[in-house]
Protein backbone atom coordinates (compact mmCIF):
# COMPACT_ATOMS: atom_id res chain seq x y z
CA UNK A 1 0.00 0.00 0.00
CA UNK A 2 2.94 2.31 0.63
CA UNK A 3 4.07 1.68 -2.93
CA UNK A 4 0.71 2.77 -4.31
CA UNK A 5 0.88 5.92 -2.25
CA UNK A 6 4.39 6.72 -3.56
CA UNK A 7 3.25 6.00 -7.08
CA UNK A 8 0.36 8.45 -6.81
CA UNK A 9 2.59 11.12 -5.31
CA UNK A 10 5.03 10.51 -8.15
CA UNK A 11 2.26 10.96 -10.70
CA UNK A 12 1.28 14.20 -9.03
CA UNK A 13 4.82 15.61 -9.10
CA UNK A 14 5.18 14.24 -12.62
CA UNK A 15 2.02 16.09 -13.63
CA UNK A 16 3.66 19.38 -12.71
CA UNK A 17 6.79 18.44 -14.67
CA UNK A 18 4.60 17.41 -17.60
CA UNK A 19 2.82 20.76 -17.75
CA UNK A 20 6.14 22.65 -17.70
CA UNK A 21 7.62 20.20 -20.21
CA UNK A 22 4.73 20.89 -22.62
CA UNK A 23 5.93 24.48 -22.86
CA UNK A 24 9.50 23.40 -23.56
CA UNK A 25 8.51 20.87 -26.16
CA UNK A 26 6.03 23.12 -28.01
CA UNK A 27 8.54 25.93 -28.31
CA UNK A 28 11.21 23.49 -29.44
CA UNK A 29 8.85 21.85 -31.93
CA UNK A 30 8.00 25.15 -33.59
CA UNK A 31 10.83 27.61 -32.99
CA UNK A 32 13.50 24.87 -32.84
CA UNK A 33 15.03 26.49 -29.78
CA UNK A 34 15.41 25.58 -26.12
CA UNK A 35 13.86 28.28 -24.01
CA UNK A 36 15.91 27.90 -20.85
CA UNK A 37 14.05 30.85 -19.33
CA UNK A 38 10.85 28.79 -19.30
CA UNK A 39 11.26 27.78 -15.63
CA UNK A 40 11.82 31.40 -14.69
CA UNK A 41 8.71 32.53 -16.52
CA UNK A 42 6.93 29.97 -14.37
CA UNK A 43 8.57 31.49 -11.28
CA UNK A 44 7.16 34.93 -12.16
CA UNK A 45 3.76 33.27 -12.48
CA UNK A 46 4.16 31.88 -8.96
CA UNK A 47 4.87 35.37 -7.57
CA UNK A 48 1.93 36.91 -9.40
CA UNK A 49 -0.37 34.21 -8.00
CA UNK A 50 1.13 34.73 -4.53
CA UNK A 51 0.48 38.47 -4.51
CA UNK A 52 -3.00 38.03 -5.95
CA UNK A 53 -3.89 35.47 -3.29
CA UNK A 54 -2.03 36.82 -0.30
CA UNK A 55 -1.72 40.57 -0.69
CA UNK A 56 -4.94 41.28 -2.55
CA UNK A 57 -6.95 38.34 -1.24
CA UNK A 58 -8.40 37.54 -4.64
CA UNK A 59 -10.29 34.29 -5.21
CA UNK A 60 -8.19 31.31 -6.32
CA UNK A 61 -9.60 31.13 -9.84
CA UNK A 62 -9.03 34.87 -10.44
CA UNK A 63 -5.48 34.60 -9.09
CA UNK A 64 -4.67 31.66 -11.34
CA UNK A 65 -6.10 33.47 -14.36
CA UNK A 66 -4.09 36.61 -13.52
CA UNK A 67 -0.97 34.51 -13.18
CA UNK A 68 -1.64 32.87 -16.54
CA UNK A 69 -2.19 36.23 -18.14
CA UNK A 70 1.07 37.57 -16.70
CA UNK A 71 3.04 34.54 -17.92
CA UNK A 72 1.44 34.68 -21.37
CA UNK A 73 2.37 38.33 -21.78
CA UNK A 74 5.86 37.74 -20.37
CA UNK A 75 6.46 34.78 -22.69
CA UNK A 76 5.41 36.78 -25.75
CA UNK A 77 7.46 39.82 -24.73
CA UNK A 78 10.57 37.71 -24.06
CA UNK A 79 10.21 36.07 -27.47
CA UNK A 80 9.69 39.39 -29.23
CA UNK A 81 12.56 41.20 -27.55
CA UNK A 82 15.16 38.50 -27.00
CA UNK A 83 14.60 35.67 -29.48
CA UNK A 84 12.93 37.16 -32.54
CA UNK A 85 15.95 39.30 -33.51
CA UNK A 86 17.98 36.08 -33.52
CA UNK A 87 15.69 34.16 -35.85
CA UNK A 88 18.46 33.65 -38.40
CA UNK A 89 21.34 33.48 -35.91
CA UNK A 90 23.14 30.29 -34.93
CA UNK A 91 21.41 28.10 -32.39
CA UNK A 92 24.28 28.69 -29.97
CA UNK A 93 23.55 32.44 -29.85
CA UNK A 94 19.90 31.70 -29.14
CA UNK A 95 20.83 29.26 -26.39
CA UNK A 96 23.13 31.75 -24.68
CA UNK A 97 20.44 34.42 -24.95
CA UNK A 98 17.92 32.08 -23.33
CA UNK A 99 20.29 31.48 -20.42
CA UNK A 100 20.76 35.25 -20.19
CA UNK A 101 17.01 35.81 -20.05
CA UNK A 102 16.82 33.18 -17.31
CA UNK A 103 19.34 35.06 -15.14
CA UNK A 104 17.68 38.37 -15.98
CA UNK A 105 14.31 37.13 -14.72
CA UNK A 106 15.81 35.59 -11.57
CA UNK A 107 17.69 38.74 -10.69
CA UNK A 108 14.78 40.93 -11.62
CA UNK A 109 12.59 38.93 -9.26
CA UNK A 110 15.18 39.29 -6.52
CA UNK A 111 15.29 43.04 -7.03
CA UNK A 112 11.52 43.43 -7.06
CA UNK A 113 10.48 40.92 -4.46
CA UNK A 114 13.73 40.29 -2.47
CA UNK A 115 15.42 36.96 -2.06
CA UNK A 116 13.74 36.14 1.22
CA UNK A 117 11.51 33.10 1.04
CA UNK A 118 7.77 33.63 1.08
CA UNK A 119 5.21 31.03 2.07
CA UNK A 120 2.76 30.20 -0.68
CA UNK A 121 -0.79 29.41 0.45
CA UNK A 122 -2.18 26.19 -0.99
CA UNK A 123 -4.95 26.76 -3.51
CA UNK A 124 -6.57 23.42 -2.73
CA UNK A 125 -8.22 22.81 0.65
CA UNK A 126 -6.19 20.46 2.82
CA UNK A 127 -7.64 17.06 3.55
CA UNK A 128 -7.54 13.75 1.82
CA UNK A 129 -9.51 10.86 0.46
CA UNK A 130 -9.18 7.66 2.52
CA UNK A 131 -9.18 4.41 0.61
CA UNK A 132 -8.93 0.75 1.65
CA UNK A 133 -10.20 1.47 5.15
CA UNK A 134 -7.73 4.29 5.73
CA UNK A 135 -4.67 2.40 4.54
CA UNK A 136 -4.23 4.65 1.51
CA UNK A 137 -4.69 8.37 1.88
CA UNK A 138 -4.51 10.68 -1.11
CA UNK A 139 -4.60 14.43 -0.55
CA UNK A 140 -7.04 16.60 -2.48
CA UNK A 141 -4.09 18.54 -3.85
CA UNK A 142 -2.61 15.38 -5.37
CA UNK A 143 -5.90 14.50 -7.03
CA UNK A 144 -6.46 18.04 -8.32
CA UNK A 145 -2.90 18.20 -9.71
CA UNK A 146 -3.26 14.98 -11.66
CA UNK A 147 -6.72 15.93 -12.97
CA UNK A 148 -5.57 19.37 -14.08
CA UNK A 149 -2.61 17.88 -15.89
CA UNK A 150 -4.90 15.52 -17.79
CA UNK A 151 -7.25 18.40 -18.57
CA UNK A 152 -4.40 20.57 -19.90
CA UNK A 153 -3.14 17.69 -22.02
CA UNK A 154 -6.59 16.96 -23.50
CA UNK A 155 -7.27 20.64 -24.27
CA UNK A 156 -3.87 21.09 -25.86
CA UNK A 157 -4.22 17.97 -28.01
CA UNK A 158 -7.66 19.07 -29.20
CA UNK A 159 -6.33 22.54 -29.93
CA UNK A 160 -3.37 21.27 -31.96
CA UNK A 161 -5.37 18.71 -33.93
CA UNK A 162 -8.71 20.40 -34.43
CA UNK A 163 -8.23 24.14 -34.75
CA UNK A 164 -6.99 26.10 -37.72
CA UNK A 165 -4.22 27.68 -35.62
CA UNK A 166 -3.26 24.28 -34.24
CA UNK A 167 -2.92 22.87 -37.74
CA UNK A 168 -0.85 25.87 -38.75
CA UNK A 169 1.39 25.17 -35.73
CA UNK A 170 1.91 21.59 -36.89
CA UNK A 171 2.67 22.82 -40.39
CA UNK A 172 5.27 25.28 -39.02
CA UNK A 173 6.91 22.57 -36.96
CA UNK A 174 7.34 20.43 -40.09
CA UNK A 175 8.43 22.97 -42.68
CA UNK A 176 8.40 26.72 -42.10
CA UNK A 177 9.09 27.54 -45.75
CA UNK A 178 6.18 25.46 -46.97
CA UNK A 179 4.04 26.99 -44.20
CA UNK A 180 4.81 30.47 -45.56
CA UNK A 181 3.71 29.29 -49.02
CA UNK A 182 0.35 28.37 -47.47
CA UNK A 183 0.02 31.92 -46.21
CA UNK A 184 0.80 31.09 -42.59
CA UNK A 185 2.35 33.95 -40.63
CA UNK A 186 5.20 32.04 -39.00
CA UNK A 187 6.16 34.85 -36.61
CA UNK A 188 2.60 35.02 -35.34
CA UNK A 189 2.50 31.23 -34.85
CA UNK A 190 5.76 31.36 -32.86
CA UNK A 191 4.26 34.11 -30.67
CA UNK A 192 1.14 32.03 -30.07
CA UNK A 193 3.30 29.04 -29.14
CA UNK A 194 5.19 31.07 -26.56
CA UNK A 195 1.90 32.47 -25.26
CA UNK A 196 0.37 29.02 -24.75
CA UNK A 197 3.50 27.40 -23.33
CA UNK A 198 4.03 30.25 -20.86
CA UNK A 199 0.34 30.48 -19.94
CA UNK A 200 0.16 26.83 -18.93
CA UNK A 201 3.44 27.20 -17.02
CA UNK A 202 1.50 29.47 -14.64
CA UNK A 203 -0.82 26.56 -13.87
CA UNK A 204 2.22 24.41 -13.08
CA UNK A 205 3.60 27.22 -10.87
CA UNK A 206 0.46 27.36 -8.73
CA UNK A 207 0.29 23.57 -8.38
CA UNK A 208 3.99 23.25 -7.61
CA UNK A 209 3.93 26.01 -4.99
CA UNK A 210 0.85 24.52 -3.38
CA UNK A 211 2.84 21.31 -2.88
CA UNK A 212 6.19 22.93 -2.02
CA UNK A 213 5.13 26.26 -0.52
CA UNK A 214 8.44 28.14 -0.29
CA UNK A 215 8.59 30.91 -2.85
CA UNK A 216 11.95 32.31 -3.97
CA UNK A 217 13.38 33.84 -7.16
CA UNK A 218 15.24 30.63 -7.99
CA UNK A 219 12.26 28.34 -7.58
CA UNK A 220 11.90 27.89 -11.33
CA UNK A 221 15.36 26.61 -12.10
CA UNK A 222 15.28 23.05 -10.75
CA UNK A 223 11.73 22.23 -11.94
CA UNK A 224 12.70 23.91 -15.22
CA UNK A 225 15.68 21.60 -15.69
CA UNK A 226 13.63 18.58 -14.63
CA UNK A 227 10.89 19.50 -17.08
CA UNK A 228 13.45 19.98 -19.83
CA UNK A 229 14.78 16.53 -18.96
CA UNK A 230 11.24 15.19 -19.10
CA UNK A 231 10.74 16.73 -22.54
CA UNK A 232 13.97 15.17 -23.84
CA UNK A 233 13.10 11.90 -22.12
CA UNK A 234 9.76 11.71 -23.91
CA UNK A 235 11.16 13.00 -27.20
CA UNK A 236 11.55 16.74 -27.55
CA UNK A 237 9.03 18.26 -29.95
CA UNK A 238 6.44 15.61 -29.13
CA UNK A 239 3.46 16.64 -26.99
CA UNK A 240 2.48 13.14 -25.81
CA UNK A 241 6.22 12.64 -25.22
CA UNK A 242 6.38 15.57 -22.80
CA UNK A 243 3.34 14.25 -20.98
CA UNK A 244 4.76 10.72 -20.67
CA UNK A 245 8.27 11.97 -19.88
CA UNK A 246 6.98 14.26 -17.13
CA UNK A 247 4.90 11.58 -15.45
CA UNK A 248 7.70 8.99 -15.61
CA UNK A 249 10.23 11.46 -14.27
CA UNK A 250 8.00 12.30 -11.31
CA UNK A 251 7.39 8.65 -10.51
CA UNK A 252 11.08 7.73 -10.80
CA UNK A 253 12.03 10.65 -8.56
CA UNK A 254 9.54 9.82 -5.81
CA UNK A 255 10.24 6.07 -5.91
CA UNK A 256 14.01 6.61 -5.68
CA UNK A 257 13.48 8.99 -2.79
CA UNK A 258 11.33 6.40 -1.03
CA UNK A 259 13.32 3.25 -1.72
CA UNK A 260 16.89 4.22 -2.51
CA UNK A 261 18.10 7.55 -1.26
CA UNK A 262 16.76 11.07 -0.93
CA UNK A 263 20.12 12.61 -1.79
CA UNK A 264 20.65 10.41 -4.81
CA UNK A 265 17.17 10.79 -6.30
CA UNK A 266 18.16 13.52 -8.77
CA UNK A 267 21.23 11.55 -9.81
CA UNK A 268 19.06 8.51 -10.43
CA UNK A 269 16.61 10.57 -12.52
CA UNK A 270 19.41 11.82 -14.74
CA UNK A 271 21.01 8.38 -14.95
CA UNK A 272 17.73 6.99 -16.27
CA UNK A 273 17.64 9.80 -18.82
CA UNK A 274 21.15 8.93 -20.02
CA UNK A 275 20.27 5.26 -20.36
CA UNK A 276 17.08 6.04 -22.31
CA UNK A 277 18.97 8.36 -24.64
CA UNK A 278 21.64 5.73 -25.22
CA UNK A 279 19.00 3.25 -26.31
CA UNK A 280 16.63 5.69 -28.03
CA UNK A 281 18.50 8.89 -28.96
CA UNK A 282 15.30 10.68 -29.96
CA UNK A 283 13.55 9.92 -26.66
CA UNK A 284 10.65 7.60 -25.92
CA UNK A 285 8.14 9.03 -28.40
CA UNK A 286 10.49 11.18 -30.48
CA UNK A 287 10.27 11.10 -34.22
CA UNK A 288 13.01 9.30 -36.03
CA UNK A 289 15.14 11.75 -37.88
CA UNK A 290 14.72 10.49 -41.41
CA UNK A 291 16.97 11.39 -44.29
CA UNK A 292 15.46 13.47 -47.04
CA UNK A 293 15.37 11.60 -50.32
Amino acid sequence: MAFLSYLINGLSLGSVYAIIALGYTMVYGIAKMLNFAHGDIMMVGAYVAFFALNTYGLPVIVSVLLSMLACTVLGVVVERLAYKPLRNASSLSVLITAIGVSYFLQNGAQLLWSSSTKVFPSVVPSGSVQLFGGQLSISYLTIVTILICILVMVCLTLFINRTRTGKAMRACSEDKGAAVLMGINVNQIISITFAIGSGIAAIAAVLLCSTYPSLSPTLGSMPGIKAFTAAVFGGIGSIPGAFLGGLLLGVIEILSKAYISTQLSDAIVFAVLIIVLLIRPTGLLGKKISEKV
Binding site: K167, G177, V180, L181, M182, G183, I184, N185
Partner: protein
Protein backbone atom coordinates in the same frame (compact mmCIF):
# COMPACT_ATOMS: atom_id res chain seq x y z
CA UNK B 1 0.22 39.59 -64.52
CA UNK B 2 3.69 38.91 -63.13
CA UNK B 3 6.54 41.22 -64.03
CA UNK B 4 10.04 40.73 -62.62
CA UNK B 5 12.50 43.55 -63.18
CA UNK B 6 16.25 43.71 -62.51
CA UNK B 7 16.05 41.03 -59.85
CA UNK B 8 19.28 40.48 -57.91
CA UNK B 9 19.61 37.76 -55.26
CA UNK B 10 22.70 37.06 -53.19
CA UNK B 11 23.66 34.22 -50.88
CA UNK B 12 26.32 35.82 -48.71
CA UNK B 13 28.98 36.93 -51.17
CA UNK B 14 27.70 34.90 -54.09
CA UNK B 15 25.42 36.62 -56.55
CA UNK B 16 23.01 33.88 -57.60
CA UNK B 17 20.69 36.05 -59.73
CA UNK B 18 22.38 38.89 -61.53
CA UNK B 19 19.63 41.30 -62.46
CA UNK B 20 17.13 39.35 -64.51
CA UNK B 21 13.85 40.61 -65.97
CA UNK B 22 10.98 38.52 -67.29
CA UNK B 23 7.27 38.62 -67.60
CA UNK B 24 4.32 36.27 -67.43
CA UNK B 25 1.15 37.52 -69.10
CA UNK B 26 -2.43 36.60 -68.23
CA UNK B 27 -3.32 33.06 -69.23
CA UNK B 28 0.15 32.06 -70.41
CA UNK B 29 2.35 29.12 -69.63
CA UNK B 30 5.85 30.51 -69.32
CA UNK B 31 8.85 28.35 -68.58
CA UNK B 32 12.30 29.06 -67.24
CA UNK B 33 14.74 26.43 -68.35
CA UNK B 34 18.37 26.05 -67.42
CA UNK B 35 20.96 23.73 -65.99
CA UNK B 36 21.45 22.81 -62.36
CA UNK B 37 22.60 25.84 -60.39
CA UNK B 38 21.50 28.36 -63.02
CA UNK B 39 19.28 30.06 -60.45
CA UNK B 40 15.86 28.72 -61.36
CA UNK B 41 14.78 27.74 -57.86
CA UNK B 42 16.31 30.90 -56.41
CA UNK B 43 14.17 32.95 -58.80
CA UNK B 44 11.07 31.01 -57.74
CA UNK B 45 11.88 31.50 -54.06
CA UNK B 46 12.36 35.22 -54.59
CA UNK B 47 8.97 35.50 -56.30
CA UNK B 48 7.14 33.60 -53.55
CA UNK B 49 8.99 35.50 -50.81
CA UNK B 50 11.09 32.68 -49.36
CA UNK B 51 14.25 34.66 -50.14
CA UNK B 52 14.60 38.42 -49.90
CA UNK B 53 16.18 39.84 -53.04
CA UNK B 54 18.92 42.47 -52.79
CA UNK B 55 17.27 44.65 -55.39
CA UNK B 56 14.71 44.63 -58.15
CA UNK B 57 10.94 44.55 -58.23
CA UNK B 58 8.50 41.68 -58.54
CA UNK B 59 5.14 43.05 -59.60
CA UNK B 60 2.07 40.87 -59.28
CA UNK B 61 -0.53 42.97 -61.07
CA UNK B 62 0.29 46.24 -59.30
CA UNK B 63 1.70 45.01 -56.01
CA UNK B 64 5.45 44.81 -55.44
CA UNK B 65 5.87 41.45 -53.73
CA UNK B 66 9.27 42.40 -52.34
CA UNK B 67 7.58 45.02 -50.15
CA UNK B 68 4.95 42.94 -48.41
CA UNK B 69 5.27 40.23 -45.70
CA UNK B 70 5.88 36.91 -47.46
CA UNK B 71 2.89 35.11 -45.93
CA UNK B 72 0.53 37.59 -47.61
CA UNK B 73 1.66 36.72 -51.14
CA UNK B 74 -0.55 33.66 -51.51
CA UNK B 75 -3.70 35.62 -50.71
CA UNK B 76 -2.87 37.94 -53.62
CA UNK B 77 -3.31 34.96 -55.93
CA UNK B 78 0.17 33.50 -56.33
CA UNK B 79 0.73 29.91 -55.21
CA UNK B 80 3.89 27.88 -55.50
CA UNK B 81 4.42 24.14 -55.87
CA UNK B 82 7.91 23.98 -54.40
CA UNK B 83 10.83 21.91 -55.56
CA UNK B 84 10.87 18.56 -53.79
CA UNK B 85 7.09 18.86 -53.17
CA UNK B 86 7.46 19.74 -49.48
CA UNK B 87 4.12 18.27 -48.46
CA UNK B 88 3.44 18.12 -44.72
CA UNK B 89 4.46 14.50 -44.20
CA UNK B 90 2.93 14.12 -40.74
CA UNK B 91 -0.49 15.37 -41.84
CA UNK B 92 -3.09 13.57 -43.91
CA UNK B 93 -3.81 14.26 -47.58
CA UNK B 94 -7.03 16.06 -46.65
CA UNK B 95 -5.26 18.14 -43.99
CA UNK B 96 -2.59 19.15 -46.50
CA UNK B 97 -5.29 20.32 -48.90
CA UNK B 98 -7.04 22.25 -46.14
CA UNK B 99 -3.76 23.99 -45.34
CA UNK B 100 -3.57 25.00 -48.99
CA UNK B 101 -6.73 27.02 -48.43
CA UNK B 102 -5.40 28.52 -45.18
CA UNK B 103 -5.17 32.09 -46.45
CA UNK B 104 -8.55 32.14 -48.13
CA UNK B 105 -11.37 34.25 -46.85
CA UNK B 106 -14.20 32.52 -48.74
CA UNK B 107 -14.23 29.41 -46.55
CA UNK B 108 -17.60 28.23 -47.87
CA UNK B 109 -16.29 27.26 -51.31
CA UNK B 110 -13.27 25.35 -49.96
CA UNK B 111 -15.14 22.03 -50.03
CA UNK B 112 -16.11 22.52 -53.67
CA UNK B 113 -12.47 23.19 -54.56
CA UNK B 114 -11.39 20.12 -52.68
CA UNK B 115 -13.86 18.10 -54.75
CA UNK B 116 -12.33 19.64 -57.88
CA UNK B 117 -8.83 18.63 -56.75
CA UNK B 118 -10.04 15.09 -56.06
CA UNK B 119 -11.61 15.04 -59.53
CA UNK B 120 -8.32 16.16 -61.06
CA UNK B 121 -6.33 13.65 -58.99
CA UNK B 122 -8.57 10.67 -58.20
CA UNK B 123 -5.66 8.96 -56.50
CA UNK B 124 -5.59 11.66 -53.81
CA UNK B 125 -9.24 11.00 -53.10
CA UNK B 126 -8.50 7.32 -52.46
CA UNK B 127 -5.77 8.34 -50.03
CA UNK B 128 -7.58 11.22 -48.24
CA UNK B 129 -6.95 9.93 -44.75
CA UNK B 130 -3.42 8.66 -45.37
CA UNK B 131 -0.41 10.59 -44.04
CA UNK B 132 1.24 12.51 -46.85
CA UNK B 133 4.63 11.06 -45.93
CA UNK B 134 3.44 7.59 -46.90
CA UNK B 135 2.54 8.60 -50.48
CA UNK B 136 4.71 7.77 -53.49
CA UNK B 137 6.73 10.52 -55.18
CA UNK B 138 4.17 10.99 -57.93
CA UNK B 139 1.30 11.14 -55.48
CA UNK B 140 3.19 13.69 -53.38
CA UNK B 141 3.67 15.81 -56.51
CA UNK B 142 -0.07 15.61 -57.15
CA UNK B 143 -0.74 16.56 -53.54
CA UNK B 144 1.62 19.54 -53.75
CA UNK B 145 -0.19 20.69 -56.90
CA UNK B 146 -3.61 20.09 -55.38
CA UNK B 147 -2.55 21.98 -52.27
CA UNK B 148 -1.49 24.97 -54.38
CA UNK B 149 -4.79 24.85 -56.30
CA UNK B 150 -6.66 25.03 -53.00
CA UNK B 151 -5.47 28.63 -52.71
CA UNK B 152 -7.40 29.38 -55.93
CA UNK B 153 -4.39 31.08 -57.44
CA UNK B 154 -4.56 33.27 -60.50
CA UNK B 155 -0.92 32.31 -61.14
CA UNK B 156 0.74 29.07 -60.15
CA UNK B 157 4.50 28.56 -59.91
CA UNK B 158 5.75 25.04 -60.39
CA UNK B 159 9.34 24.22 -59.51
CA UNK B 160 10.65 21.01 -61.13
CA UNK B 161 7.35 19.12 -61.04
CA UNK B 162 8.77 16.22 -63.06
CA UNK B 163 11.79 15.62 -60.84
CA UNK B 164 12.29 11.98 -59.96
CA UNK B 165 9.13 10.74 -61.66
CA UNK B 166 8.69 7.95 -64.19
CA UNK B 167 8.10 9.03 -67.83
CA UNK B 168 4.48 7.94 -67.60
CA UNK B 169 3.87 10.07 -64.52
CA UNK B 170 5.72 13.01 -66.10
CA UNK B 171 3.26 12.90 -69.01
CA UNK B 172 0.37 12.81 -66.58
CA UNK B 173 1.70 15.77 -64.58
CA UNK B 174 2.32 17.83 -67.73
CA UNK B 175 -1.15 17.19 -69.11
CA UNK B 176 -2.61 18.27 -65.76
CA UNK B 177 -0.55 21.48 -65.90
CA UNK B 178 -2.09 22.17 -69.32
CA UNK B 179 -5.53 21.35 -67.94
CA UNK B 180 -5.05 23.76 -65.01
CA UNK B 181 -3.95 26.44 -67.47
CA UNK B 182 -6.97 25.83 -69.72
CA UNK B 183 -9.21 26.39 -66.68
CA UNK B 184 -7.75 29.92 -66.46
CA UNK B 185 -4.71 29.71 -64.20
CA UNK B 186 -1.54 31.37 -65.47
CA UNK B 187 1.52 29.12 -65.08
CA UNK B 188 5.20 29.82 -64.48
CA UNK B 189 7.10 26.57 -64.83
CA UNK B 190 10.70 25.85 -63.95
CA UNK B 191 12.07 22.65 -65.44
CA UNK B 192 15.22 20.75 -66.16
CA UNK B 193 13.17 18.64 -68.54
CA UNK B 194 13.43 21.36 -71.19
CA UNK B 195 11.90 19.33 -73.98
CA UNK B 196 8.64 18.74 -72.17
CA UNK B 197 8.51 22.25 -70.76
CA UNK B 198 9.06 23.92 -74.14
CA UNK B 199 6.40 21.71 -75.69
CA UNK B 200 3.64 23.13 -73.51
CA UNK B 201 5.02 26.68 -73.03
CA UNK B 202 3.69 29.77 -74.77
CA UNK B 203 6.95 31.54 -74.07
CA UNK B 204 10.25 30.56 -72.50
CA UNK B 205 13.40 32.02 -71.00
CA UNK B 206 16.80 30.38 -70.74
CA UNK B 207 18.60 31.03 -67.48
CA UNK B 208 22.39 30.57 -67.35
CA UNK B 209 24.39 31.23 -64.17
CA UNK B 210 22.09 33.97 -62.96
CA UNK B 211 21.45 35.68 -66.31
CA UNK B 212 18.70 35.33 -68.88
CA UNK B 213 20.51 34.54 -72.12
CA UNK B 214 17.66 33.73 -74.49
CA UNK B 215 13.96 34.23 -74.75
CA UNK B 216 11.22 33.44 -77.22
CA UNK B 217 8.15 31.34 -77.81
CA UNK B 218 8.31 27.70 -76.76
CA UNK B 219 8.48 26.68 -80.39
CA UNK B 220 11.24 29.14 -81.31
CA UNK B 221 13.41 28.00 -78.46
CA UNK B 222 12.93 24.32 -79.10
CA UNK B 223 14.21 24.93 -82.66
CA UNK B 224 17.07 27.14 -81.52
CA UNK B 225 20.43 25.52 -82.16
CA UNK B 226 22.02 26.64 -78.91
CA UNK B 227 19.06 25.39 -76.89
CA UNK B 228 19.06 22.09 -78.74
CA UNK B 229 22.74 21.64 -78.08
CA UNK B 230 22.70 22.60 -74.42
CA UNK B 231 19.33 21.36 -73.18
CA UNK B 232 17.70 19.05 -75.67
CA UNK B 233 20.54 16.62 -76.16
CA UNK B 234 20.81 17.34 -79.82
Amino acid sequence: MLKVENLVVRYGMIEAIKGISFEVRDGEIVTLIGANGAGKTTTMHAVSGLIKPVSGTILLNDTDLTRIPNHRIVSLGLAQVPEGRRVFAQQTVAENLTLGAYARKDRSSVQADMDYVYELFPRLKERQTQLAGTLSGGEQQMLAMGRALMARPSIMLLDEPSMGLSPLLVSEIFSIIEEINRKGTTVLLVEQNAKRALAIADRAYVLETGNITLEGTGEELSRDERVQKAYLGG
